[in-house]
Amino acid sequence: MAVSTEEVVEELTLHGLGTSVDLQVLAGDEGPQADAALVARIRSAWVRCLTPAPGQPRPFPCHTRTVAHDTDKDLGLGRPVQVRHGAQVSPSPDDALSMLVASGDQHVLMQQITQRVTRALILSQRGRLLMLHASGVSDPDTGRSIIFVAPGGTGKTTLARALGKRWSYLSDETIGIDAARQIWAYPKPLSIRGGKAYKDEVAPSALGLLPQSAPAQVSKIIVLDRRGGVDTPTFEPLGTLEAMEVMGPESSSLAALDRGLHVFADVLEHTGGAERWRYTEHTDLIARAEHILAGEV
C-alpha cells in the first residue's frame, strides 16, 4: 500500500469483481471522533466487501498486479483510494496521482467512495473480465444467477433489493463475468435515493439481503427497459447481435478484453440469449425472475 504523507487513521481492503482496492481514511478536519464515525460508517456500508465473497472462484492475483502501462498509471491503477472528512487539500506535486476524495458532507463522501472504488476495481479488471453495468442475484445453493443490465436509474437496484431477500445479492452496479461464465460479484452498498437529493449508501445486510454462498454462474442476462404506462410487461428475446448492440453502452472496457465481442456472444449463447423486459412496476417481474433462478424457464 502506498504511504500517504497525511495521517492515515484506518486502512481497509475492499473486495469486488475478483480483485481488491485499498482504501485509506485520512485524518480529517473534524477531529478523531468524526474520523472514527466515518470509519464505522464505511465498514458498515461495505461489510460484504471487507472479505472476498465466500464461494468465489479462484481469485485473480490482481491486488499486487504490476502496473505495466503508462495509461494505467495515469488512471491511478494500483494506488489506494484515500478518504478525508473535510476540505479537499491541494495535492502536492509528488501526489499528482492522488485518488483522494474529500468532503465535509458524509453523504457526498460515501457516494464518492462508491464511485471511486467502483472505478478502481473496473480498471483493475480491464482485459480480464466482461464487465456490465448490472445488478444481479443468485441461488444460494446452485449458483444459478440472473443479471439485470440497464443504465443508471432504471431499476437495477430496485430489483436487486426486491429479489435479494430470497436470493443472494451479487451487486446493484457492476457484474464481472469471465470466459467460463463465472460471475465475479461486487456486493457493494446499495445506492438508494429514496426521494432525497442524494443517494444513501446502504449495506446489503441492513436491507436483509442474502450474502453469496456459492460460486455464481450466469443463467440469464436481462436488459431492463423501464418506462411508464406498461400495464402488462413484455419479455422479448434478443438476438446475439442486437443484445450486444443494446448492452454495449452498459459495458466497461470491452475493447480491452481479447476478442471481447466473441466472449460476450459466447456468454449470451450459452445462457439461451438475452431478453429485454419492458415494464413499469418491478413487482411484475419478480415471478419470471424467480422461475429463471429456480431453473424453470
Binding site: T240, L241, M244, E245, A255, L261
Partner: protein, 89 residues
C-alpha cells in the same frame, strides 16, 4: 495515386452473425450489413475501390442499377466516417 483503404488498427473485434456484424472500435460499437462486412474483411490488407468492387461483384453480383464502384464508394465513405476504415498511402 488511387486511394487505398485498410481496416482501422483501433478495431478490436468483429463479430459476424447471419451475414451482419458488430464492429468494436475502442469503446464504440457499429452494426454493419453484408456489403460493409465484405469490404471490412477484404480491407485486412490495403484495397482500392476498384479491387473492392471486383470482390463485391464476385460475392453478390453486379448491382441492379448503376456502377459497382459507386456503391462501393458510398459504403467506404460511411465506414471512413465511422473511423472503422482508414485511408492509407
Amino acid at each position: 495515386m488511387r486511394s487505398r483503404y485498410l481496416l482501422d488498427d483501433q478495431v478490436a473485434d468483429i463479430y459476424v452473425a447471419d451475414g451482419e456484424a458488430l464492429v468494436l472500435r475502442q469503446e464504440s460499437l457499429y452494426r454493419v450489413g453484408a456489403l460493409a462486412l465484405e469490404i471490412l474483411q477484404a480491407c485486412r490488407q490495403p484495397r482500392t475501390v476498384a479491387e473492392l468492387s471486383q470482390i463485391l461483384v464476385a460475392a453478390f453480383g453486379a448491382p441492379p442499377q448503376g456502377e459497382a464502384t459507386e456503391a462501393v464508394e458510398a459504403v467506404v465513405d460511411e465506414l471512413l466516417a465511422c473511423t472503422i476504415l482508414q485511408e492509407v498511402l
